[in-house]
Symmetry: D3
Subunit: 232 residues, 6 copies
């Protein structure tokens, strides 16, 4: 993903992105149950690198499985710099998918961040790695207490949204939103203007303008806004 | 609502209010799933101005609907100064009912605060407006991604509690509690004394008095408390 | 519980404890839905003193019941110094099991802390007592609005885990973990070494060592680690 | 609703209706959690007459409230012949909205049927009235144990779907589907043909034709189907 | 429990019982999530014999535990003839509390029936024993896959209701209802008359009498009903 | 799978299979939320052929997608005779994964049955095909209203259990159980004896033998059972 695209999307809130995508007919692009692990994480932008878990089975999900060729370790070594790891943990809240060691290695490899509908473990250690993380909380038990890792770079479900490898993820204080790869250009074309428009409307509200006719804009307001844009 | 009533209720915790109402047979007056959006919001007191949503229907819940005569915009323009907007969002957690623009307008109109069993969107912008809010979290998508607005000043459900227009809402760190309008005078008569009593009991606990006989008070303790009250 | 045991366990994270117990076949030892009531609470260690609630029944769960011989008040007076009160609130989130007065008395009696799958009431007052608490949130209503207290020092369920009197509880930022009393010695023997091992692995990750072969360790890594341990 | 419309819709399954509506962009028209109360109820078709409940409040939801002007009794007396009563019970499963007496009166008034996301009470009595019912089960307690009735012929939520008065309801073994009033003519124009097409495809499957190219139809299959239709 | 009491309660529906108890202020007496295991089971009446489970712990919940002194087997041998076993399974739906062998033994001992908020296993075998059962479904795994049995004749939670030993249970097609032992006489005094009254109202509805004034009865209707009762 | 294996497993209940697997340390092998679609379906045995869905995305889950190379149609054409299709529908209950046409084609191809944690659509049509089905209910909407099909013969989650291609599925009135392929021989060696043993215990219960010592068997009972087995 080129740095210009990243730059543009770093300036667009996930709230605005969902509005732009809704106008294109996509209502289900916000990943439920994933929040910033710490306040003040800056907006995260990047292509999805997917990870997939199924439920634990006592014969498969064991500490020994961590050395298997299909393991979270192998997946991490396959992650390219700048990607966002997106993990389908099926919303399981009582087994932490990663702890400090795996997060430290991801940070070392230049992974941009981690997004999951599951939880992390070893909160103190994970925060210490500095990796930006969106998740649904913290739990002490290891992934194998509840989950079996089965593969990477496959289509997944995360927070009730279908994520395919290389879809674009944007995450901020409002959570994480998916932009389907095929819609990226259209979103880049419209989203920044939407941001400018809403900022101008806020200045109108500050002036005491009532909402009807202002938001959404009627013809008179559109004309005033056009004048403002020309004047910039 | 007169300022004296507001003043009295600002001095009573929601915990105490639920105890007073329980003694009158009301067990279901605490709105589930609504919390202060930021720490340290001061206690909020005011009459309820209700808002009602139903689920989204693709033919109705569209950005175009925001200009309809029955819209959240029109409802906001109808809110009197000092009211608390109470929104029945059916506990939907994946569509934010309001963002920065609508909250800014509510603040401008002198609305005292907003209480909902749903979520807000555009967290940073909403916090910037300074409007006191109790809600169940944050989500990027707009209300129309999951909800259809259908009216205001009707009876609603909010957090599992029936709220009628002009019932009284008190909200603090423990969440939001409803006082039925018809019970307001009785609550005003009893709640402040309950607060004094519990504060005195805390001083007794600090002195090392064991709980049985102290809380609830037996006759001996009641006598000591009466003496304390006379001595004030 | 002797102070040496407490001292050892204060140096072991709950994440490590779950790994040690998983290797012994115990997957279900982490109490769901209980978190530190405030950030930065230090790790809590102690034997469980259990409390049990059933649902409220209007003829039983009344303010009057607080003076009954089987009451939370009587239970608190029976708690030994250094114990951790573990309350089975059946995950009820709309009735606070304890408020400031009961927490103050527990602190006064030297109770080490409180762990529950339910919620507290009167957040400000409870925080003021300084009692370390792990719970699932805050609600204004009193316990009798949703719960009937039925006894203490019985086997209970808490957060989906069976807790027997005198099982050991350890709680930190990752939540609360149970060590069955019969497994305590085995855990004490293994857990500290596990902590050292994981700390050493983190230094290897910092050096840029990839995960496969490192975590879990293959024979070459084990040799390097053995050398490190000898050199200490 | 004229009898010709009813006749056409009685010949179309709810499964087919959802497919027709999906092609028009409506994904959320199937009412969750409502099933036929007895096997073999014939397909039900009619305009919605809506009923709305909020949660119980001990000061409002009492047996005495049954005599209030805003009561389920008054609502039933307002129901026109041939309508389908659609009750928003907020999915409450532990308070039966109606028992034998109210159902008997609805049957007496010629109400076509009842659809709710809540439950009925007095199963034996209700079945005895013969009223066709789609609901989410049975519970002994009366509505006032969990619900407060607040009005009729308002927009409601039922099973996660927004229902407006005079929307059309069709219910069969697959549950209940809403047709927005404004889309009725379009649905009537397309649905019967869809039924014929799927029936023909079934005969092809019976002949052993594989699915790719058959369902959905490719051009060759479309030609064969066109020939079949001409030949009818 | 004497046979006259059983006889009276066999003639009263659980729907009527909940109404009688509601008028005494008890709203929470219906056990959620428990239904007849087969259609047409006749109404069940008897005193509760309680059983209590906590979650499974791998070191406790094993097939070996079935031979422990505190086991479901020992509990069954302690059940008196005519009692109703009421099992608190914490609503666990993926571990069957009893199968054919234990049910056969209960039937052999003259236990009147079994009520639980959990599930049974070995459906075919259990039905073969003829024991009347109210439960929340069927699951193949044994209790120890999810539950640890901890005792009998203690206060329990079942389906969200507090059940004490010797409270009275009545179960029919509408589910199971608890009558607190202390309220039995009051219920026996009022419930049969309530049944007669509702039956008479049904005959009025059959005659075409509208609901307002009839149900609940106004003074004119009460007079007509009094005349009917005198005439009997 | 050879017919002898099928024959043996057709004689073993899923309840017995879970007990045998529990003794080998596997607690999580029963698929939650899947039941026989009609009463009296005979026990189903076969190797799993897996199907995987993710959530719907409006740009992907469309009727047009049914003609894609990665579609449920293509998957069905790849199913071998005698397999059991096991579909991971993520427990979605408001979109039916298959209707009559797809089930008819599966029956035509000799598929032994279908097991899913999701629901079917077009109940009447599906029952008409005669395909044995275990599912979690019925819903009118098509799969694309809630699900996107992404592949077959991959590891999946179904009802909270990890299922790999060619694991063995056994389904009866108690639901569906998974036997990991690697454990099949061990299960075949033990399960039939377990069935004989439990049947003999039932005859003992019929004779009036109390449970302690009988189930589980103490040494004296084991001797009697050994004598019975020798005598056969």
């Amino acid at each position: 993903m080129d740095s210009k695209t990243v730059g543009i999307l770093k300036g667009v809130s996930t709230a605005t992105l969902t509005t732009v995508l809704l106008k294109k007919g996509l209502r289900n692009v916000w990943l439920r149950g994933t929040k910033p692990i710490r306040p003040g994480q800056e907006r995260l932008v990047g292509p999805a690198f997917t990870l997939r878990f199924t439920p634990a089975r006592e014969d498969l999900a064991t500490p020994a499985s961590w050395a298997s060729p299909i393991s979270t370790r192998a997946a991490i070594e396959a992650m390219p710099e700048g990607c966002i790891a997106v993990a389908d943990a099926m919303g399981v809240l009582d087994a932490g998918i990663f702890g400090d060691i795996l997060c430290a290695r991801m940070a070392k490899r230049g992974v941009a961040g981690l997004v999951t509908d599951g939880v992390m473990r070893d909160a103190a250690g994970v925060l210490g790695t500095g990796l930006p993380i969106w998740c649904d909380g913290i739990a002490a038990p290891a992934s194998v207490a509840g989950l079996t890792f089965v593969g990477w770079q496959e289509p997944i479900a995360c927070g009730g949204v279908a994520v395919f490898p290389d879809d674009i993820i944007v995450a901020d204080d409002d959570g994480a939103v998916l932009i389907p790869a095929a819609l990226l250009d259209a979103v880049l074309a419209e989203a920044p203007e939407q941001e400018v428009q809403e900022a101008w409307i806020m200045t109108e509200v500050d002036r005491g303008v009532p909402l009807p006719g202002l938001y959404p804009m009627n013809d008179e307001t559109k004309a005033r806004y056009a004048a403002f844009r020309e004047g910039q």
